[in-house]
């Protein structure tokens, strides 16, 4: 009965591009959107408009990168917006108290990961749902913000001011800020980690099937905790960038940012159930949101409520197209 020869080669067409379809679709749609902007508004074609999208969304990008890790494991982190705000608040208040900038940076960069670590532990050891744990984390961090100060605190520290106002490139013409470079660095590191390290691959495995990952002998617990810590770290970096951006800490800043971030990650082609997606997609997702906003500002005729409706509508059109084109390609 042995018929090994029969089980052998079967003509199986490799389906390589399939994984990349969502990202490619996003890219194409983004280009179309940019094209529309250029054709409609003259100043839109300035290269600085593109740079501004990066300058204005650098912190969002960094936070979204952290969120990508979490979502790739099939989790979610709702605390990011509050942690960003808390980091900015802590930096601002410590600087106001006269601590040296370097020390403040270290402290601010420790708080986010610590909270992330604790949330990761709660999720892993007590098997609580990430949504709830991070929601509690969100309440906690936001509570801390107003606890630190009820009104916004300006930052006058020399290092911060320099980082904020430094223009890289032609200072009179087209330039980017330091935040953009930091954001790019974070993106590159994250992409490398996800693609080339054992930790990164374990993140994907957990997203695919946590039970299997455990039975395959992967360090599921450690990785899961690490992922929330990474997200906390990214939020902390995002918070620092935001404090560069606004040169202040305000208790109600970045409210609802978590939803923008989640939307960016998903638009970038990462699946919320985990296991599939790329950092590069997340970059595109952030750009999509940025370009939508730029389009609306350039138009400059929308009422407050029409702004929301149009954002919702564009989001819908985008997701729908992405989905339909995605299906077609598969």
């Amino acid at each position: 009965m042995s018929s090994t020869s029969l089980t052998g080669v079967r003509g199986w067409r490799p389906s390589l591009p399939r994984r990349h379809v969502p990202v490619l679709v996003t890219l194409a749609l983004l280009l179309v959107m940019y094209g529309i902007g250029v054709s409609q508004y003259r100043a839109f074609s300035n290269i600085q408009v593109v740079f501004n999208v990066f300058i204005d969304n650098g912190f969002l990008l960094v936070v979204a990168v952290g969120m990508t890790f979490v979502i790739l494991t099939g989790g979610i982190d709702l605390s990011v917006g509050s942690v960003v705000a808390m980091t900015a608040m802590v930096s601002a208040s410590l600087l106001r108290d006269g601590l040296p900038a370097a020390l403040v940076l270290v402290i601010a960069l420790l708080i986010g990961p610590t909270l992330g670590f604790l949330m990761g532990c709660a999720i892993h050891f007590f098997e609580l749902q990430p949504f709830i744990v991070t929601l509690a984390g969100m309440f906690f961090a936001r509570g801390m913000c107003t606890f630190i100060s009820q009104s916004s605190i300006p930052i006058t520290d020399g290092f911060w001011t320099a980082a904020s106002q430094q223009r890289i490139g032609d200072p009179r013409g087209n330039f980017v800020s330091i935040s953009v470079l930091i954001a790019f660095a974070v993106v590159l590191v994250a992409a490398y980690v996800l693609a080339y390290t054992r930790f990164g691959r374990t993140v994907y495995a957990i997203g695919g099937n946590p039970q299997s990952a455990l039975l395959m002998g992967l360090p599921v617990g450690r990785t899961r905790i690490a992922v929330y810590t990474v997200s906390g770290l990214c939020s902390a970096i995002g918070g620092i960038l935001l404090s560069f951006y606004t040169l202040s800490g305000a208790p109600l800043i970045a409210v609802g940012m978590e939803l923008d971030v989640i939307a960016a990650v998903v638009i970038g082609g990462t699946v919320l159930t985990g296991g599939s997606g790329y950092v590069f997609g997340t970059v595109l997702g952030v750009l999509v949101l940025g370009v939508i906003q730029t389009l609306i500002t350039f138009d400059g005729s929308l009422n407050s409520w029409w702004t929301r409706i149009v954002i919702g509508g564009l989001l819908f059109a985008f997701i729908l197209l992405q989905r339909l084109i995605g299906i077609r390609f598969k």
Binding site: Q40, Y41, R42, A43, F44, N46, Q48, V49, N52, I55, D56, T146, S149, Q150, S151, S152, I153, P154, I155, T156, T161, S164, Q165, R172, L242, Y245, T246, L247, S248, G249, A250, P251, L252, I253, A254, V255, G256, Q293, T294, I296, T297, F298, G300, S301, L302, N303, S304, W305, T307, R308
Partner: protein
């Protein structure tokens, strides 16, 4: 300046980029409407952007205004701090900036040309002074509860401060409870319900805006008390519903905070564009209303 204009080929119309906080209250909407109407009337092309209560969005909008090379930028800052970087970019691009409604705390006063808005401290003070006047003859303690606005916001802080300073004149006046109602009717009502249950004797309610006062009205009625009589109600803003309540005798006093900045703003824009010097701080024309004044004023109110 046809080479500079935005997409619409502005000709020699002045282009104003205006970044609004959002549309979080009726007051804000009236403010927006006023600006839009005034711009149209003054022949100024308005680029309007709604920041949905987010500072990040306002900064982005200002950047985009700079890219579009508008002639003047005006905005109502969501928070006080954090504007230096982007204002510097505007300054470098040679675009003058006017603040409306709320101030910024930047030490560098050259970053903007002027501030146009209300004096919140004064509003609180006017409210307090009226109360002191009314309770001159009171012998026993007068118990006041306060419904604060959004915690940490400039109007809430300043109105609280102004009010507290004014009532210090009479030691009988005492604030026995003060809690944030977030400038919203539903919250104002919920907080007032708890005030009423925790404090058997409340004589005066000071609400930081009309909406919270209107919410509190309901709570007071439900508790079997008569607003305006059993409890004296003082609020700030003077939006239509508030004025109606005042005219109906349910409120006792309102310190006005006018949203109708549009015409004044357009004046300033024109002057700034023409290179004229303008004062660094301009206050909106505001008044106060008693019940009688409200009855008179009500038919002519625009919002």
């Amino acid at each position: 300046n046809s080479d500079t204009g935005g997409g619409s080929g502005a000709g020699d119309k002045i282009v104003l980029g205006f970044s609004q906080v959002g549309a979080e209250s009726g007051w804000r909407t009236a403010n927006t409407t006023s600006i839009k109407e005034a711009a149209a009337a003054a022949g100024i092309e308005l680029k309007f952007d709604d920041a949905q209560q987010k500072q990040e969005n306002q900064i982005k909008a200002i950047r985009n205004f700079i890219q579009q090379k508008v002639d003047v930028i005006a905005f109502s800052p969501v928070v006080e701090s954090g504007w230096d970087t982007v204002l510097k970019e505007a300054k470098d691009a040679g675009i003058p900036v006017i603040l409306t409604d709320r101030a910024v705390d930047s030490p560098d006063k050259t970053l903007y040309k002027s501030f146009l808005g209300s004096d919140f401290v004064k509003e609180g003070r006017l409210a307090g002074e009226w109360l002191v006047e009314q309770t001159k003859s009171a012998t026993g303690p007068v118990n006041i509860v306060e419904l604060q606005g959004t915690t940490g916001s400039a109007p809430a802080n300043d109105r609280k401060e102004g009010f507290a300073n004014a009532i210090a004149a009479n030691p009988n006046l005492k604030i026995i409870a003060s809690q944030s109602g977030d400038f919203k009717r539903a919250d104002g009502k919920q907080v007032m319900e708890q005030f009423l249950k925790a404090n058997p004797k409340i004589d005066v309610l000071f609400a930081h805006n009309d909406d919270m006062g209107l919410g509190a009205l309901e709570a007071i009625t439900a508790a079997g008390k008569t607003p305006g009589k059993d409890i004296v109600i003082i609020t700030v803003d003077a939006v239509k519903d508030g004025m109606q309540a005042l005219a109906d005798g349910k409120f006792n006093f309102i310190a006005e905070c006018s949203p109708l900045l549009g015409p004044q703003l357009m004046e300033l824009v024109k002057k700034v564009h023409a290179g004229e010097e303008i004062p660094a701080r301009i206050e909106t024309e505001e008044t106060t209303f008693t019940q009688e004044q409200a009855k008179e004023a009500l038919p002519n109110r625009k919002y």
